[in-house]
């Protein structure tokens, strides 16, 4: 009875903390400009099904891809077993699904989850070894400071411990079930009678040999693992939205809102379009006063200086990033030792959205902390190293687009600050004057025909 109350309070507390944090992230993402991505829903669902649900881009790297699928499938399906644990916790029952499924089916049901748990454990250990012993280049780099590294290890260790707890719990339980009912009853554990199996569970069976035969000790082992597992899950749920592990939720909406246009297509800035049309229209009166009833539009920057100039999709991208570094390892600039790292662009964007969001929650929606994404987080040198080759966008398993942010920041540098590198300014001048990026005369354009 008391444990049911404690359990219910834990569920509610977890839910409240989780929802408060999700609302914060939602507000932070909405610091971005509004853009309309409601078009082509069927194409979007398909992209999401293929990329997020179907993990199609993960397997581009087979080892990591398959290990990730173990964890992903395990994580989703094991929720069925968690459902049993939740029901048991709230109503004070024990292995409630046994009543519905019967001995044989329940044995297979739990056996299947043990298989998943084993695969998850295997993959987590493999990932831990690869990360900490394997010295993979993409797990280092300037942006991989202490926190991102510990974050990754915390996730893998917690997931491993949760799986070990489940397996140990099952092992202790099955030894208890196998003891004569009278012995168990004498120990005052009537809960653990009435459940019978042929043999051990598929995987935890191998652990039973290590366990004692004393019902009370078994009971404490089983309960300890049960509570550790479920409280661990609650804790993990609270942890996830502060961590790169948040990708398990955002991967789905983020792939739904993927860019559907060809990767090479950049948007045509609407604000610039208006200016160019005005400039090119001979019927325009350059000194015309705005119409009296015109709603004065809020002046928008050309390009982006801070997260508020980026779109909400750019910021959703940032919160979806799990810092795997595939973008950076495919980036030609990064491979040749330049400062640019697409992963850093995404992490900086997320960290800046976090910082600005927290500042606004504290000091009001209009508050400005005097910092910006460009300058305080991302330097010009990083931005100018990009070849816009789309290797990063192609490599990302959840269709994050770092290039979009890079180009928007460049637009700010060029159009608001005239801060392009000198050679590019020369190129601009040449295009303006000669219609070509070099200093050649327009009249010589067709000379190749006579050479």
């Amino acid at each position: 009875m008391i444990s049911s109350i404690i359990f219910s309070v834990l569920i509610l507390t977890t839910a409240v903390i989780f929802i408060v944090r999700i609302r914060q992230i939602n507000a932070n993402i909405n610091l971005g400009r509004d853009i309309d991505l409601s078009d082509r829903p069927s194409e979007r669902w398909k992209t999401m099904a293929r990329v997020a649900l179907g993990q199609s881009k993960m397997v581009a790297r087979p080892f990591a891809g398959i290990m990730h699928i173990f964890i992903y499938v395990g994580f989703i399906l094991i929720n069925l077993e968690v459902l049993e644990i939740l029901i048991d916790g709230v109503f004070g029952t024990h292995r409630i699904f046994y009543q519905f499924l019967g001995s044989d089916t329940y044995h297979t049901f739990i056996g299947f989850f043990e298989l998943l748990a084993f695969l998850v454990l295997f993959a987590c250990v493999a990932f831990l070894v690869r990360r900490n012993v394997g010295r993979l280049k993409r797990f280092s780099g300037t942006e991989m400071t202490a926190w991102p590294k510990s974050d990754a290890n915390i996730i893998l260790i917690v997931e491993s411990l949760l799986m070990i707890a489940v397996l140990t719990m099952n092992a202790a339980d099955s030894v208890l079930f196998a003891l004569p009912d009278a012995t168990v009853m004498t120990a005052g554990l009537s809960h653990y009678t009435g459940i019978e199996f042929d043999g051990w569970f598929w995987f935890s069976g191998y652990l039973t040999g290590m366990l004692p035969n004393d019902p009370t000790t078994l009971f404490y082992i089983e309960r300890a693992c049960w509570w550790f597992h479920i409280v661990g899950i609650f804790g993990f749920l609270i942890y996830i939205p502060y961590s790169k592990h948040f990708h398990i939720f955002l991967a789905f909406p983020n792939t739904y809102y993927s860019k559907l246009e060809p990767a090479g297509e950049l948007t045509n800035l609407e604000s610039v379009k208006k200016e160019v049309e005005l400039m090119m229209d001979p019927n325009q009166d350059p000194f015309a006063a705005p119409a009296a009833d015109a709603i004065p539009a809020e002046p928008q920057r050309f390009g982006a200086k801070d997260v508020t100039d980026l779109s909400w999709k750019n910021l959703m991208d940032a919160y979806s990033c799990t810092e795997c570094g595939r973008c950076t390892s495919e980036c030609p600039a990064n491979q040749t030792g330049k400062l640019l790292s697409p992963r850093k662009i995404m992490m900086d964007t997320r960290d800046r959205a976090e910082e600005l969001g927290a500042h606004k929650r504290k000091n009001g929606a209009e508050a400005d902390d005097g910092k910006s994404l460009l300058g305080d987080y991302i330097t010009k040198e990083e931005l100018w190293a990009c070849t816009t080759c789309n290797a990063c966008t192609d490599a990302c398993p959840v269709n994050i687009n770092p290039l979009n942010i890079i180009v928007d920041l460049r637009r700010f540098l060029v159009m608001e600050e005239s801060a392009a590198p000198n050679e590019l300014n020369t190129m601009f001048t040449n295009i303006e004057n000669n219609g070509a990026p070099w200093q050649f005369a327009m009249a010589d354009r067709a000379n190749w025909r006579d050479e």
Binding site: A60, P262, A263, G264, E265, L266, N268, L269, V272, K273, E275, V276, M279, M280, F302, E330, P332, A333, Q335, T336, G337, K338, L339, L340, W384, A385, T387, T388, C389, N390, A391, T393, D394, L409, R410, R411, L413, V414, M415, A420, P421, E423, L424, T426, M427, F428, I431, E432, G435, A436, P437, W438, F440, M442, R445, A446, N447, W448, R449, E451
Partner: protein, 251 residues
């Protein structure tokens, strides 16, 4: 041509590299010869063509890009252009994807796709004999491949050469950039420990190819410089697909 009331089958958009760069002009001429051989009635804008605006747009100068687009679209629409073929993937991408929203709607084709169609329609034939025994590798231009998902047309064209086609370890979707895109062509690279084209040329050397087939004048320059960096210009030549086909067709 327009003055004579004729309309061409296709407009050949030459691009700035193809018009002014001495190396790229050879690609332009090779492609023009192929068009003539296949009896394609084509037109060029000549002195009325202007930069598509790609390098301006990609370096963030949206104003300049849209000014260029505006001017080009006026010319193209005035000539009632419907189909455009270009040997530059940057012009290809810009005209195909970014002009429509600004009022320029054309069917835009990359020259490797166009040559491939000419072969398929039987309008162009070549004897691949002169390349027998050579190893050719195709370097995917970012703005043709990843940017627009064109991977097969250039490879199908190269099949006509009767040579041995080899892939670099990084190819198609994972092909490494030559280092020129995003306006890098016009500036020095940022500080690093290597040039991108040198990194890419290492892939070429590893593939043991005799010829690097390019489909982009920018890549062509970068790869040629990369091969020179390793003093391998006697062993490895860098040629555009149009040049290789023109050579095989004895043009």
């Amino acid at each position: 041509m327009a003055a004579a009331g004729e309309s061409p089958e296709v407009l050949f958009w030459v691009g700035c590299m193809g018009s002014f760069d001495d190396r790229a002009k050879k690609i332009t001429k090779a492609f023009a010869k192929l068009l003539n051989r296949a009896n394609v009635k084509f037109a060029v804008l000549g002195t009325e063509e202007s930069c598509s605006g790609d390098p301006a747009k990609r370096s963030g100068n949206e104003f300049l890009f849209q000014m260029q687009a505006f001017a080009n679209i006026q010319v193209l629409n005035a000539y009632e252009v419907k189909r455009i073929v270009t040997a530059c993937p940057h012009c290809f991408n810009t005209l195909k994807n970014e002009y429509p929203e600004l009022g320029g709607n054309y069917e835009v084709i990359h020259h490797t796709q166009f040559i491939n169609t000419l072969f398929k329609e039987g309008r162009l034939t070549v004897e691949g004999g002169s390349f027998k025994g050579k190893r050719i590798t195709f370097h995917d231009p970012c703005y043709l491949g990843r940017a627009n998902d064109v991977y097969e047309a250039p490879r199908e064209v190269l099949q006509k050469l009767d040579a041995e086609l080899v892939e670099m370890k990084r190819c198609k979707q994972r092909g490494l950039c030559c280092g020129a895109g995003g306006a890098q062509m016009f500036k020095e690279a940022e500080k690093g420990d290597k040039e991108v084209n040198v990194e890419r040329t290492e892939d070429v050397i590893e593939s043991k190819a005799d010829i690097v087939a390019a489909g982009c004048p920018f890549c062509n320059t970068m790869m040629t410089d990369g091969v020179k960096h390793f003093n391998k210009e006697d062993e490895i030549s860098v040629k555009d697909i149009a040049e290789l086909i023109a050579e095989a067709a004895d043009l």
